[in-house]
Assembly symmetry: C2
Homo-oligomer: 397 residues x 2
């Protein structure tokens, strides 16, 4: 089928585009290269040497014999070009990764907060509006986040896949009602994904759009079978305090012999998934879209959960590195449990890679292999959730 | 106190500005005059002859001796000027009416949908961001809508004031949890107010902003004691299919001898409040802000509920006019009940004007008095909620 991948130059978008191309779909990437521009702004780079889009597309053709389309287009600010592209291409499916996706970046300052809200909400809404106006019958798959749910909201009940049936007290007794899980976003970035959910619910209900929202955990791993075919196809590995996930920053610290820096007690539990499983989940979601008239379909895109300090200990043992504790700049509980339902993907055939199996490869083939490209000063997270929570300079190497 | 009224040139904003000035507050209006520009776009005008802002401000000085500030500024697109203004003024309170507020307009076409989302979300978020960045301790009062709740969601229970305690099933038994009432918006306009709620919840929680969200019903009535002091201070009366409420369109039809056009069965129940009570509610909200750290405070700003066909019958009797039925272009149930809690305002002293008391004045002093200014072709609502629901031309006079 014809698939448009919006944000196809990014960390999830690029390997997804290659995977979908590899299994025979006709893929066109739409990207405004914002992720590369933010690297310039933050004065950081992917640890792995990523190539310009033109080269990526050319090498993929060399290696696989398949064509990848690429259009440099900003869906948030170039609505008319988006409409023209959809009109010309008439895709069967659209995968939407085109949002600013780092929580720390979204909390840096008012400029970054505003960019995150304006870019993410406008982009998503423009896309919904264009599909509706053109009357296209597409399966829309959007990357959400586990962060829409918050932590510990539903007590000992596992976090459901999007929807929750609650009892509403009325004079005639309790009324059972299915609700979208209440929004508990922990950053402006996460907030935008809770806004997206309401946009999706409206356009599914009013206009019959067929939408799947994937609430993804923290993605780890760098390579998929396709990105590993040629070094010029390599995927991003971000290790900076804004875009690097906790796991990548641990791996990077270990690779350069720096203690693993745990914020707070490290008692925060987080959900994880390997990038190889992300691309498989997108494929599964594309093959199982909701019907016209259905509410948005929600999957929790996670493989397992880990407490941050347990993750640090796992990497510490694997790499023989010490652990150091720093203050936590986020507004969150020091300790939380996290039990997540992920039955929908498992029942559709996902057999996930676990951290205990894949971390050694990641440490050896990525973090250590490219360690000489690292800028050590960028590893610590400097964004603060509110004033007075800055990390002291003497804690930062 | 120093109060900034954003959207102070509009139908609710103008009388609110005069009321707050009248009771001794130092009022500065911020407005980009978008409401007047949309009139130009739609080729309609307020039935009542409204004056330019410069004249309005001058006449208010003549009549009351009080100064009103006015700054022509678009909070959605001129963030830096907004920051400069807040820095210079350091207001104690901000009343935020600065959003596109017509549901039919928001459904006209993709341009209007996108304008509504971009303008409303960006404006509200810019304001929250600016207040946070400057560290201002202001009471922020925002005009929401009863439309965030939808109709009939909670069965026989009255619609609560913003929050609802529900029971969440867990393996350890039911867990009581207070949630924001689930969002059930009926148009893109209403959708934006549900997005605002999530923005407010986040900034109240993360940054301690003190926010009151007023879920208002349909406002009727034109004049307040202040706008009635001089004809040059008169408030707007919109009767067109986009911005005119059902009530104003009935009054206008009656004034020109056209049958009252009821969409569908007229079985939709709606909540109403007089503009005189709107301005009083804003005053009460300003005097009763939440504390720093509180969740956003929500009031239902309504006086009474009416079924549309009963309202038509009330006006039909009052003016001796026939009733005609048209198809309903909205996606909604044909009939609904509506029971609303409005205890918070009543307990704080609001003694509302009811339709049965004030409609005659409205019909005689506004609709009939200015009937020769009406453009009859504009009364019928032409926006459709989705394709295929257009009103046939032969139903429209």
């Amino acid at each position: 089928m014809k698939v448009l991948v919006i944000g196809g130059d990014g960390f999830c978008g690029w390997p997804t585009s290659l995977h979908l191309s590899d299994i025979g779909h006709e893929v066109t990437i739409v990207d405004n290269l914002s992720r590369r521009n933010i690297d310039i702004e933050l004065e950081v780079e992917s640890l792995t040497p990523i190539r310009p889009m033109g080269e990526r597309v050319r090498v993929w053709k060399e290696v696989s014999g398949k064509e990848l389309g690429f259009v440099n287009l900003d869906i948030a600010t170039e609505y008319d070009r988006l409409v023209d592209l959809l009109t010309e291409l008439r895709p069967d499916a659209v995968v939407h990764f085109g949002e600013q996706r780092a929580a720390p970046y979204s909390m840096r300052n008012d400029k970054a907060k505003r960019y995150t809200v304006d870019n993410n909400v406008r982009g998503t809404h423009n896309l919904l509006c264009a599909i509706t106006t053109l009357g296209l019958d597409v399966a829309l798959v959007h990357l959400g986040t586990m962060g829409v749910y918050g932590y510990g909201w539903s007590g000992s009940a596992p976090i459901p896949e999007g929807y929750l049936t609650v009892k509403v007290p009325t004079p005639d007794g309790d009324l059972a009602r299915e609700i979208l899980h209440p929004a508990n976003p922990g950053s402006v970035y996460h907030l935008t994904k809770t806004l997206d959910q309401l946009l999706f619910a409206f356009y599914a209900n009013n206009d019959g759009l067929r939408i799947t929202d994937l609430h993804q955990g923290i993605v780890w791993g760098t390579q998929t079978p396709q990105t590993a075919l040629d070094e010029r196809l390599i995927n991003r590995f971000d290790y900076d305090g804004d875009y690097g996930t906790v796991l990548n920053r641990f791996l990077m610290q270990a690779a350069i012999g720096h203690p693993l820096t745990v914020h707070g007690t490290g008692g925060q539990t987080r959900a994880f998934i390997h990038i190889r499983d992300t691309v498989r989940c997108i494929e599964i979601a594309l093959n199982n879209p909701p019907e016209r008239g259905d509410k948005p379909s929600v999957f929790n895109q996670v493989a397992e959960t880990y407490r941050v300090r347990d993750l640090a200990e796992l990497i510490s043992r694997l790499t023989d590195t010490k652990i150091a504790n720093l203050p936590n700049p986020r507004r969150e509980a020091a300790e939380n449990d996290l039990v997540v339902s992920n039955n929908r993907f498992l029942s559709l055939g996902l057999n996930p890679t676990l951290l205990s199996e894949g971390l050694l490869e990641e440490s050896r083939d990525i973090a250590m292999r490219y360690a000489d490209r690292a800028d050590v000063s960028k590893i610590i997270a400097r964004s603060v959730w509110r004033k007075g929570m800055e990390v002291a300079d003497d804690l930062v190497k």
